[in-house]
């Protein structure tokens, strides 16, 4: 009887394990099936490098280059803001802060992670957008920069908590050794701790960026959603995710617009896949 129970439980867990892979495969197949149909209407080259996105015109113009660049611009901006602050914060929490400050900071960061993105978007819309408009004397504050700043807030908790874990798991002997050899606290952090934890920190950064590129609601609310080729971070942009979210409701099932939105989904999938693979490659190289 016990053996039987063991057997059942083992199989159940196996099914759970397989299920996750099964669902991913199903999702990918569905995405491909719906998305690839768009290439009957427009060539892949024209789709990826076309400069106009007018999906409901007759005939539709389905070029997503402005959307890809919009997504990249917002993501790069968010990375530039969040990585230094995030890693710096992690170093402070893991190495420097006294215990009480450490606890307060950690709780605060967890709280930041708990704010729903739509709330952050709303706060950004009423506070950050007018601020950006007046500081830079822009015609409108709904810009890529506003999106980047708001998304940096969203990436920060991920980066801080994972990078802090990475620093924490560096063997204590490294630190003790460095200090014993006469290195200052700062030299220990910069020359020993950070390089030793670099793979974990890189993973933290990648996960943070992954969160930024997939974020939808906040960017839709504060980037202005204009499908224009961006030439500066101070103009409105339209991201891949916001395009899918804003237009899926309208797209009639089976129309070229509908297929094009799924094809955008494939592009997003490939981008986040590439980010993960790069992170993975880097991790293994380090080890």
């Amino acid at each position: 009887m016990r053996k039987f129970k063991e057997f059942i439980v083992e199989k159940l867990i196996l099914i759970c394990g397989l299920a996750s892979i099964f669902f991913v495969v199903l999702i990918f197949i569905f995405l491909l099936k719906e998305g690839l149909a768009v290439f009957n209407i427009v060539s892949p080259f024209k789709f990826l490098f076309g400069k106009s996105w007018y999906p409901i015109s007759e005939p539709p113009q389905l070029g997503i280059l402005p959307l890809i660049l919009g997504s990249l611009l917002v993501t790069v901006g968010a990375a530039i803001i969040s990585i230094p602050i995030g890693v710096g914060c992690a170093v402070y929490i893991a190495e420097i802060a006294p215990p009480r400050t450490k606890e307060t900071l950690k709780a605060g960061i967890e709280l930041l992670a708990a704010i729903p993105s739509v709330v952050l978007g709303f706060i950004g819309m009423v506070t950050l957008v007018p601020l950006v408009k007046t500081i830079f004397h822009l015609p409108t504050g709904l810009t890529a920069l506003s999106g980047s700043i708001m998304l940096a807030f969203m990436a920060m908790p991920t980066i801080v908590s994972i990078a802090e874990d990475a620093l924490y798991s560096v063997p204590k002997t490294y630190k003790e050794g460095a200090l014993a050899l006469g290195a200052t606290h700062w030299q220990t952090i910069w020359r020993v701790m950070l390089p030793a934890a670099s793979s974990g920190i890189l993973a933290a950064v990648m996960l943070g960026i992954g969160r930024v590129i997939g974020e939808t609601m906040a960017v839709m609310m504060i980037t202005g959603n204009a499908a224009v080729m961006p030439n500066s971070i101070l103009i409105p942009v339209r991201t891949l995710t916001a395009t899918i979210a804003a237009e899926m409701g309208e797209a009639v099932v089976g129309s070229e617009h509908y297929f094009a939105l799924f094809a955008i989904g494939i592009v997003l999938f490939i981008i986040s896949f590439a980010i993960n693979v790069t992170a993975d490659l880097f991790l293994h190289k380090r080890q």
């Binding site: 202005g224 204009a226 499908a227 080729m229 409701g249 309208e250 129309s255």
Partner: protein, 284 residues
């Protein structure tokens, strides 16, 4: 244990499917954001008069309404544009026959910030602004300020109507598009808020959204005809150039509760609600 779990699971699926089954006393109304306030006002009074009936009204845009009607997730689609041939073809493939009922008229107001000195524009000038040919307010005699164009998202009937009637001036061969730099906002309220806050902004929406925080612009068909402000009177007598009909779409001839609701919207009481929500009644 496992058997018990399965039983519970089966019971759950059974009850949920029972809830999802079509209820005779409830209808789903979905579509145009322009008409959401109107639809909700109708539904409230309708449910007050008929205690056992239930009507749920949601927005999302005219296109959203049509795609729900086609996929069978709503009973009545509200729309601020006529259905496209492509959509009819898709509907018929799924065995749905869209049936059009005109229930109200709407004037499309073009609004600017109250600080803007511009108060009248011709259709040509509007087309120039929204396609991006006119970039600065000083080209129209205003301040030296870059024009910020606000538009609704592409799922909005208002967006489609404005493109066809103002940008393309009803010419089916025209290839005019909104300027790529136009900000796409997801609701009429978002446009109203941005226009109220931004002195360089220009936007458009149904007359019902006009408030004292924005300034509606008087519009002229061309240089020769006079400038007309968007008002119920001017839409009714046909002088205001950007006005449009508002529709309800049902699957085939309305019957049962759907018919009861449609009849209510066209009744004296229903049309009074149209007037009360700042639209123009089709029946007097």
């Amino acid at each position: 244990m496992i058997k018990k779990c399965l039983l519970i699971l089966a019971a759950l699926t059974f009850t949920t499917s029972a809830f999802a089954a079509k209820d005779e006393f409830a209808i789903q109304v979905k579509g145009s954001d322009t008409m959401v306030n109107l639809g909700q006002a109708w539904a409230e009074v309708f449910m007050e008069r008929n205690k056992n009936d239930f009507a749920a009204v949601t927005g999302g845009g005219s296109g959203t309404g049509f795609s729900s009607l086609i996929s069978g997730t709503c009973d009545i689609a509200m729309s601020s544009r006529s259905i496209k041939d492509k959509e009819i073809a898709l509907a018929q493939k799924k065995g749905i026959n869209p049936n059009e009922i005109k229930v109200a008229l709407d004037g499309l107001a073009v609004v600017v910030n109250t600080k803007n000195s511009i108060d009248k524009l011709t259709i040509d000038q509007l087309a120039g602004i929204f396609t991006g040919r006119i970039k600065n307010w000083n080209e129209l005699g205003g301040k030296d300020e870059k024009i910020v164009i606000l538009s609704r998202e592409v799922n909005s009937g208002t967006h489609v109507y404005f493109k066809e009637h103002v940008l393309r001036k009803m010419d089916p061969d025209s290839r005019e598009e909104f300027a790529p730099g136009a900000l796409m906002l997801s609701s009429s309220q978002a446009i109203a808020d941005e226009v109220a806050a931004n002195p360089a902004a220009i936007g458009y929406y149904g007359m019902g959204y006009i408030s004292s925080k924005q300034k509606p612009v008087a519009v002229a068909k061309d240089g020769a005809s006079g400038f007309v402000t968007p008002s119920i009177e001017n839409v009714l007598n046909g002088r205001y150039p950007i006005s449009r009909p508002l529709f309800l779409y049902t699957n085939g001839e309305p019957a049962g509760l759907v018919k009861k609701f449609v009849d209510f919207t066209l009744s004296k009481e229903g049309q009074d609600i149209v007037l009360a929500t700042d639209f123009v009644p089709v029946k007097k």
